[in-house]
């Protein structure tokens, strides 16, 4: 792995902002380092104002680091060329309302140097991918929040980037739309795309990410593989299907005979409210 160029490399990033009046410095990011290998899905989580978006903006060259360095596939992110391999969906994006879905994707595709048949085919494929074929000629002013998020995702993918950066990709989207976006992230991961997302919806991050970083007050307080971070080392989970009460009683009795081992909890595992909602709302679909 030593020779692989990381998809994202953020080294000791520091970003200070000057406040409007007293010109005092506000440190938004304080020495954050992140390394994301190609094909990984990395989640940056933290409360509002913890420096997640500033880190992403620094990676995209939208803000200049006060100290430190950001690189995308080895290229300094302050260089325009580094953006050829990146697709970005900002938080709560508002695209040009006067453009239709097709026109929006064509506009962003042309900015990336795409033209003609290649662009036409790409726009058609992306509209199908994000389920907006029926709204392709409708102006974005008439799109719902979820539709805007999906067209935003399509524009981020228009030039087929190797790295996708998503800032709160499911913010304000209903559970079905949110599930669609997560499904898409799964499929992009299967295809080998690197995804860097930030969110404060922890359950979603847990579901899709390979590695996670927790940022708080501008500092990285914890980072690692998700499985390692959330595993409770001194506990073991066994889930049984169709187990009789007698079997449960025998297992419980067996555990009681082992000194130093404690049965913490037994009972029926619960589904999440979100899964229940999705199951119930899909049942009525024609």
């Amino acid at each position: 792995m030593a020779d692989v160029i990381p998809a994202v490399e953020i080294c000791d990033l520091v970003k200070d902002f000057k406040t409007s009046f007293r010109r005092q410095k506000l440190r938004a990011v304080a020495g954050v380092s992140i390394r994301i290998q190609p094909g990984e899905v990395y989640g940056l989580i933290g409360p509002n104002g913890s420096g997640k978006s500033t880190t992403m903006k620094a990676l995209l060259g939208l803000v200049a680091p006060t100290a430190g360095r950001c690189a995308i596939f080895g290229q300094d992110s302050l260089r325009v060329d580094s953006r050829r391999e990146v697709g970005f969906l900002p938080e709560n994006p508002y695209f040009y309302k006067h453009l239709s879905g097709t026109e929006t994707l064509r506009f962003y595709g042309k900015l990336c140097g795409m033209r003609g048949r290649v662009l036409d085919d790409r726009v058609r494929e992306l509209l199908a991918l994000v389920d907006l074929e029926s709204a392709r000629d409708r102006r974005l002013g008439g799109y719902s929040k979820g539709m805007l998020q999906r067209i935003g995702l399509a524009q981020a993918l228009v030039q087929d980037p190797r790295l996708l950066i998503l800032d709160e990709p499911t913010a304000g989207v209903d559970p079905i739309g949110s599930r669609q976006i997560r499904d898409l992230i799964f499929r992009l991961r299967e295809r080998g795309m690197t995804v860097f997302l930030c969110s404060h919806l922890l359950e979603q991050v847990q579901e899709v990410c390979d590695r996670v970083g927790i940022i708080f007050q501008g500092k990285m307080v914890r980072e690692g593989r998700l499985d390692d971070l959330i595993a409770i080392e001194d506990q073991t989970e066994i889930i049984l299907r169709d187990a009789s009460p007698e079997l449960i009683a025998r297992i419980t009795a067996l555990v009681a005979t082992c000194p130093g081992t404690e049965l913490v909890r037994s009972g029926k595992p619960r589904t999440t409210l979100e899964r229940l909602f999705l199951r119930e709302t899909h049942r009525d679909d024609p």
């Binding site: 903006k57 995209l60 060259g61 939208l62 803000v63 200049a64 325009v80 060329d81 953006r83 050829r84 990146v86 697709g87 970005f88 969906l89 900002p90 938080e91 709560n92 994006p93 508002y94 695209f95 040009y96 006067h98 453009l99 506009f107 962003y108 595709g109 042309k110 900015l111 990336c112 140097g113 795409m114 290649v118 790409r122 494929e125 992306l126 199908a128 991918l129 994000v130 389920d131 935003g152 524009q155 981020a156 993918l157 030039q159 087929d160 950066i165 669609q180 499904d183 898409l184 499929r187 992009l188 295809r191």
Partner: protein, 308 residues
Amino acid sequence: MSQPLVSPVRSAPGSHYGRIAVIATHAFTQLVRMKVFYFLAVFAVITIGSNFFDLPQHVGPEAAGTNVLNSIKSWSLGTMTLFSVVFAIVATALLLPKDVEDRTLYTILAKPVPRLDYLAGKLLGVILLVLVSLALMDVLMTAVLQIRTSMILSGQLELAHSRGWSAAEIASLRSDILGQGPNASLQGAVFVVFLRASIMASLALLISTFSSSTLFTSIISFLIYFIGHFQADARDVFLGAGSGSMTRAISLLLALALPDFHLFNEFDAVIQGQVMPLILLGKLTGIGLFYAGFYLIASWFIFAEKEF
């Protein structure tokens, strides 16, 4: 979302010109879809209405009607100047803050788009809008002027024939009347109006790179526009009064930074039927290109360092 994932594509990097053209076309479309061309109805009313501003005249019957032609030209060019400058300033002042506020700028700059390309595209989009607007107004003005000139010419020729004027006198009369109608100098005057509006669009772009609101950009731009009309007088006062070298240097710098819009009022002579010399048109074009380029580069210097 059950469709297969899209096939991989590799896009060409794209040229600067290509990107600028895409952004310019988009900015133009954006402004057109804001229904800005409704103003053409107002212009049509003014141009047609100027036919009826029959001012008292102190000329003989052989020159009767030419004052109406002057009135059409004067009102039309005046309205073109007003509309084009207002469009140039307000449209430019609107586009940049709107992109920042709506965060659409993030999605554009997150693509491989240099900031200079973005600024140049926005500016060209506004200039294209001004150009198309002026072209449409020009067509309307020329049509009204042509019809009115023909009417006056036929009336005057009839009068001349009834008075038994010689062929040379009639040819001179025809030439005088046609000189007041639509001609190349009038088109040159419209081009001067376009140059002035283009300079103002570039200036508004520069201000909007550091301003925080459309209103501030518009007010400062209009202020500079009016100051620009007195720039030469102010410079003469400072430089001609034998002031110190520092004052002279400041005056010269001001003259470089602020265009002398008084120079662009040369089309007043065209309204009176005089010919606009090509050398003057060339000089004004040079001044227009210099200031538009100067303001664009200055905008880039500020915008390149801007954080979002």
